[in-house]
């Protein structure tokens, strides 16, 4: 049985650009954002409609973007730049203010290029790299205050503590609902797939937040009705795949479709456009800087270096998620020129090998020319994992 609310969500996403036009005509401002540390709650409390800019999978836009940035810019950001150049994406068209963070150097550079060539109003949040230092926290606190001041200027209002608390409450509920829904997709007898949840997460980038929460709760209610239990276990013949690495934005479903079409079951992810930004976000103080620190203390983005392998939070989280979702193998997706993740591919493979978890790196871009090559490699990987499951089942039976 299908989850009917998912159809409603798809429809509402389609209707959203027209709604945004109307809202802007009524005086609302749209804040488009790209990054990992943008405290959305702050923008929301100031009356902005926060929209996460996310385009992907269009090699033509990638080519266009290269004319303004360079052919060495990562594929994702090249397409973003291309989308600003073409200015046909409805969310890009409807954006009044753009917020970027300096988590990834290329993200920051894309902000500069967009500001220079397309004359967009851009606000950038500085992000420290030595995040485990007190002084770095102090620096980031000041950056968050400055970022808020710049948003206040553009919103024409100051942060209201009550509204900020309401925004935090709303976003916390969204995060909690997403986390709960995510458990269902990894369970035995699941009625919702990982891809459906992934699309659901990305629907939240654009939908009105109140409505989004309500739709998530409706989805949960349906799930509870149709699937009375959550039992995350491996089953015989399954190939439970975990996706890690570079972003997979809306519009880019090449790798995901290849995996699922070959019978691989995706059960988890730790990618920037997946569940990871919603996990472990604890806001201890209701203030712009308190929220920003909550964002900073989550699982670090791959662009933030950490110099000690044994205590790396990102790898620890990866291990934890693999265990939680009973994943048997990792497909590590790296986009062309995505340095934060390509540099970590071999290391991650070596680290996981110590726990007996195989990793397949797929290095790709948005062109379709590598489709068959990827399909062959993924097919072999899925088959290997499935055979391992069958062999271990046979060993248990014997």
């Amino acid at each position: 049985m299908a989850i009917k609310t998912l159809d409603i969500i798809r429809r509402r996403v389609e209707e959203r650009p027209e709604e945004l036009k109307k809202e802007r005509a009524n005086g609302k401002k749209v804040l488009g954002w790209i990054g990992y540390h943008i405290p959305e709650e702050v923008a929301y409390s100031l009356g902005f409609i926060p929209i996460r800019i996310s385009v992907g999978g269009d090699s033509k836009l990638v080519e266009v973007g290269a004319r303004y940035a360079s052919s060495k810019t990562c594929v994702f950001l090249r397409e973003i730049v291309g989308a600003f150049a073409e200015n046909t994406d409805p969310y890009i068209q409807e954006t009044d203010v753009l917020a970027f963070d300096a988590t990834c150097l290329q993200n920051f550079r894309a902000a500069e290029v967009i500001e220079y060539f397309f004359k967009r109003d851009v606000v950038v949040l500085g992000v420290p790299r030595n995040v485990y230092w007190e002084e770095a926290i102090e620096y980031f606190t000041q950056e968050a205050k400055e970022f808020t001041r710049l948003l206040e200027e553009r919103a024409g209002v100051s942060v209201d503590k009550k509204k900020l608390a309401e925004a935090v409450d709303l976003f916390n509920k969204i995060r909690a609902a997403l986390k709960e829904i995510y458990q269902y997709q990894a369970s035995k007898g699941n009625v919702i797939s990982w891809l459906e949840v992934y699309d659901l997460i990305q629907a939240g980038y654009v939908l009105d937040k109140q409505e989004y929460l309500q739709l998530l709760q409706q989805t949960l209610a349906e799930l509870k009705e149709q699937q009375s239990y959550i039992d995350i276990e491996q089953e015989a013949g399954e190939a439970r795949i975990f996706i890690s690495g570079s972003v997979i934005p809306r519009g880019d479903r090449k790798l995901i479709n290849i995996i699922t079409s070959l019978g691989g079951r995706i059960v988890g992810d730790d990618i920037w456009t997946g569940i990871i930004p919603y996990l472990d976000l604890n806001i201890k103080e209701i203030s712009p800087e308190g929220i920003a620190l909550g964002y900073l203390n989550r699982t670090p983005h791959g662009a933030l270096p950490y110099l000690e392998l044994k205590t790396d939070k990102r790898l620890k989280k990866l291990h934890g998620l693999l265990d939680e979702y009973k994943a048997q193998g990792v497909i590590y997706h790296t986009l062309r020129y995505c340095d934060p993740y390509t540099f970590k591919a071999k290391e991650t493979k070596d680290v996981l090998a110590q726990s007996g978890i195989p990793l397949l790196e797929i290095h790709t871009e948005y062109a379709g020319s590598d489709y068959e090559a990827i399909r062959t490699r993924v097919e072999a990987f899925v088959e290997m994992i499935r055979n391992q499951t069958i062999e271990s089942e046979e060993e248990v039976s014997a």
């Binding site: 920051f108 894309a110 220079y116 500085g126 002084e135 770095a136 400055e146 270096p305 110099l307 591919a345």
Partner: protein, 462 residues
Amino acid sequence: MSRKELFRYSEENKEEFLKSDNITFNDGTVVTPEEIWHYLTVEAPVKYPNAYEINELRGSRRTRDEKYVTGLKSQYLSLTLSERMEKAKDKGKTVAFIQGGQAVDPYTAADTIALRPALVNNWNSGRKYGETVYERNVRTKGIKERAYHDMSFEACQTGGFEHIQAGDLRVDVIAPYSALRCSDVSYGLEAHRHGPNDKVKLFLGDYPMRFQADKEWAIEYFAHNIRKLIETLDEISGKKTTEEDLKNSIKLHNEGRKLAIEASEIWWSAEVPPTTGGERGALFGLGTLEGHGDVQATLSVLKEAKNIIAERVKKGVKGHKISDNPKRLFVLGSCVGINASRSEDAGAIVVGTDNHWSHVVKLVDEEGDPYYNLAKATLEYPYEQSIEKRAAWTVEQIKKSRADGVIFLHNWGCNTQAAISRAIVDVIKRETGLPTFISERELGGLSNEQEQNRVNAFVEML
């Protein structure tokens, strides 16, 4: 393999060379011109025949001009780097691997030799004697490929990862700055955490991004990074670097920076270029005092060089084999450059760069808190500013250098510089009206011919 014919320095120039100054090193030792001449003409051709090969790339000679004393001394310092580093390590000196386009004042203060990728590679290359250019290339290329495998094949360069991780070089700490000029610095640093050499310490100087020189909290944070850097270096050496040490180091480095700026003004003022483009670049690179792994030795060469340039300009001496009306090129972008000698053969000369110059021109305030002053100056590097501000400074340099054309050159895989190449060039074209072109360089040398063809075509068009 049959040995190649080797170049020899002409004895004709010996007498004049012997009149030049001594080189004084950090540890107080002095090398006389006689000893340098002996090394260059007797010892080095046996140890490093690759540096004396007669070929299209001129071996790895620093200068084509045998009468240019500074060129010969720079070559001496370059050829002796490997032996000097080994000796320094035997004496317990700390060696740090650095990247990120920064001045090295804090490293000097903490009695540490700061080496960039090219120097680390030079150190390693120099450990083996008797190699031809071909033999050296084959050996080092093989090692490099392994490093790309361990890091990322999309890394712009491996930064000596292979030598440090193999334990071939006694580098104590990898301590770069995560400056904007390079995207791979912090990822390359992090890559060391999974290598076999767990003895090497890791430290990241976190350079706050988004043009933060006017933000007090960013200056304070970066000043703290410099403090922590010095503490890390002290942990290795067992010494205690004081605020006074840093102040003295700033004074010393300011002296180098001022000398380079003055020499540059003299060079640019000349009717005809007084040296080749390669010699010009090497000369102003001396201003950071870190180019040869010994700040005092570099300073002594630089002091003498300034006078040599002034003398050449006064006498109207023209750089070796420079054509009568060379097309003057300003090269900006990544930490790479065009082949100066081949471009000169095509009728051009490189008269300026932004990289390796931006951090020379920024003097550090000598009064007050040295950590704060150094942090502020570093955040003010013109190269690290916004597109418009960086381009405005570059335009100023282009005008001073009287360039006829501008090339933005970025290394393959250098996405931070490549990303803004068009925007920067756009402003320069608007403000100067000069012809410009953007080109990509491949450090492995695989596309040298294509790149040179493009440069030559550009020069022809000029």
